[in-house]
């Protein structure tokens, strides 16, 4: 498994102190300064669909090791932002950086190869594959077999296939899904499908994990499990997590920083308690 160091609790709180400061300035200046070293950064990203501006000059920055929440009311453009970040859509104007390199204009698979992996709002497992195959597919960029190896069934193919299988089974067992390995991915109970999708995303060995409404369709007890799961994933795999979520309990419970969007525009950025009390956010959610 990935061996990146766990972010220690001490440095996290220290950072939080700076964050609050940054968050305050960010709210008035558009979240730009001292974020140049961020893992993922968008700079005035805008996307237009005909006359509709779905995302409007959005600047955001996700720092290494944090759990960052992106929230907003229905139709605020959250999933569109995800699609921008993962190359499904290209921004009309503006730039997106990952690890300091521009990634806007790249195709989805190229962004994935650089270490950005995602789950989908409406689970997109591969229906015709079993649980293990779903995860194996995600190992694609890490396999050492060539087409010729596969056709000729060379020792390298056999070895590689065995290694990938072992890796996937290990990953599945962390999520208690190993016993379902031969079952159809989409025939699992809903909560397990969500978990399997996360496992599949992790199998691409990402640095940044994007979770699109992971709590959708979950009952309160499943949501609690999810909160723990997200924290565990971050700590165990040394990841950075960007979460799009609708469910306030999940967002407030797990995110270290939150950015709020409404009508494609950023309206607030800060710590969970700041967001909770922000009049603009309350207005956006409840109306005037």
């Amino acid at each position: 498994m990935s061996g990146a160091p766990e972010p220690s609790a001490v440095s996290a709180t220290k950072e939080d102190g700076i964050l609050t400061e940054a968050a305050r300035t960010a709210r008035s200046h558009g979240a730009k300064e001292d974020d140049s070293g961020a893992l993922l950064r968008t700079d005035q990203a805008t996307i237009r669909f005909g006359g509709l501006i779905a995302v409007n000059e959005l600047s955001m920055a996700v720092r290494e090791g944090e759990i960052f929440g992106l929230i907003g009311p229905n139709g605020a453009g959250k999933t569109t932002i995800f699609n921008l970040l993962t190359g499904v859509y290209q921004p009309t104007t503006g730039e997106i950086y990952f690890q300091g390199q521009r990634i806007d204009g790249l195709r989805s698979y190229e962004i994935s190869r650089r270490g950005v992996s995602r789950t989908f709002q409406n689970i997109r497992l591969f229906p015709g594959m079993n649980v293990l195959e779903n995860v194996l597919t995600a190992c694609h960029t890490h396999t050492k077999q060539s087409l010729a190896d596969a056709v000729l069934r060379t020792p390298r193919f056999v070895r590689d296939e065995k290694e990938q299988r072992e890796y996937c089974m290990e990953l599945l067992s962390i999520f208690n899904l190993d016993r379902f390995k031969d079952e159809g991915g989409t025939s699992l109970p809903y909560g397990n499908q969500r978990r399997l999708e996360i496992v599949r995303a992790l199998a691409t060995r990402p640095k940044l994990l994007l979770l699109d409404e992971p709590a959708a369709g979950m009952n309160p007890s499943e949501q609690d499990d999810l909160l723990n799961l997200i924290r565990q994933i971050r700590d165990r795999f040394g990841l950075t997590i960007l979460l799009v979520e609708h469910n306030m309990k999940v967002v407030m419970g797990v995110c270290e920083r939150i950015q709020v969007v409404d009508y494609g525009k950023s309206i607030a950025l800060g710590l969970p308690e700041e967001i909770r009390n922000d009049p603009k956010v309350i207005e956006a959610y409840l109306g005037d």
Binding site: V88, S112, F126, A150, Q164, N192
Partner: protein
């Protein structure tokens, strides 16, 4: 048994089986058992159709891209190799036969024709695939259909390969050649499907967006499967040309492409054994129906086309996913029961509570969530 020994054993069995069928189809027959030339021809054509169906299944069944231009690639393979054997083979054979003997020389020259025919079709597949695989569904189907017709019309207008009058080709392809290449096609496609490349292809079929998100260059893999598929169609064309010893553009109309599609749809898209079964059925069925008996003054054989069509409709109505669907027919079917034995594995919900131990309320709650998800 070690896997290596097992492989050798399987290889020996295949060679013996091919040789036996080939002997039975020859004039002498096998131990006094033989079939007439008419039936022999059907068996060889079934072999060629297996190559076509199994290879088309790679792109249509496993990658999920709907191509209906397979006859076009078959034509390229057939005509390119026939051009070689008609105009150059004799000179090459003469040059070679001095040192290695006539039989070996003709085999080598034919292998060369196979390679060239396959490569030509593969290159054509690449040229067609790169621009057209950006299209989806119906659009790709129309482009490939159009391409196959363009190829046919171009060939029709080249007088060096016979043009409209047809092209007489030398050749002594027998079942051994066709059977060997059918086996090679099945093995290669199977090995591809059961590998990382195969999983990439199937993931494109299942969900292209998710596939890209997993780091798979979907365009590259679509083109790759298209090229491999075209290459085998080209090989089938080479074998057909040198078995039939006569090529006519009428053999490569879109009807031929549709026939191959019917084979894989009937057998099961995404199943190699299904494609084999479909190819055999579609080759034998129309011929076999000629032997229907006379019933109550009506000659049923006269109605064979009606019965053929009715049979296809009945099969598709009862098995819309094809005879085998996504499944493979194998020895495992015979060895163990279809359903997993119950008891040792309890299927539970995501908290690990086995469904059997859930209370009725819990079960209903789970169901309603599933319903909700389904209705999204």
């Amino acid at each position: 048994m070690s896997p290596f020994l097992k492989r050798i054993l399987v290889a020996v069995l295949i060679v013996v089986a091919l040789w036996a069928v080939n002997a039975a189809l020859s004039d002498e027959g096998l131990f006094g058992f033989g079939v007439d030339a008419y039936s022999g021809r059907i068996v060889v054509l079934a072999g060629i159709n297996i190559i076509l169906a199994v290879s088309l299944n790679l792109i249509n069944g496993f990658t999920g891209q709907f191509s209906i231009g397979h006859a076009g690639f078959m034509a390229i393979g057939g005509y390119v190799s026939a051009y070689l054997t008609v105009y150059h083979a004799q000179a090459w054979e003469r040059a070679l036969s001095g040192s290695i003997g006539e039989t070996a020389a003709s085999i080598i020259v034919f292998l060369l024709a196979l390679i060239v025919g396959g490569l030509a079709a593969a290159i054509a597949g690449l040229l067609v695939g790169i621009p057209s695989l950006r299209l989806r569904g119906d659009y790709l189907a129309i482009v490939t259909l159009g391409f196959a017709e363009i190829i046919r019309i171009i060939i029709l207008n080249i007088d060096t390969v016979g043009g409209a009058t047809g092209f007489t080709v030398p050749g002594n392809v027998n079942f051994l050649w066709v059977g060997a290449f059918a086996v090679i096609t099945i093995l290669v496609v199977r090995n591809i499907v059961k590998s990382d490349v195969g999983r990439a292809l199937v993931s494109i079929r299942e969900d292209e967006l998710a596939s890209e998100a997993m780091g798979i260059n979907t365009t590259r893999y679509k083109v790759l499967s298209f090229v491999i598929s075209s290459m085998f169609a080209g090989l089938a064309g080479v074998l057909f040309a040198h078995y039939n010893r006569f090529l006519s553009t009428a053999d490569f109309t879109f009807l031929r492409s549709f026939e191959i599609i019917i084979m894989i749809v009937l057998g099961g898209m995404g199943s190699i054994t299904g494609a084999v079964l479909g190819a055999i059925l579609i080759t034998i069925l129309p011929e076999g129906l000629r032997r229907l008996p006379e019933v109550g003054g009506y000659n049923l054989a006269d109605l064979r086309l009606v019965i053929y069509a009715a049979l296809l409709i009945i099969i598709m109505l009862t098995r819309p996913q094809g005879i085998l669907g996504h499944h493979e027919f194998g020895l495992n079917w015979l060895r163990r029961p279809q359903k997993q034995p119950e008891g040792d594995k309890t299927v539970g919900d995501d908290r690990g509570v086995p469904i059997a131990q859930q209370t009725e309320t819990e079960r209903l709650a789970g169901e309603s969530v599933k319903e909700e998800v389904k209705n999204r």
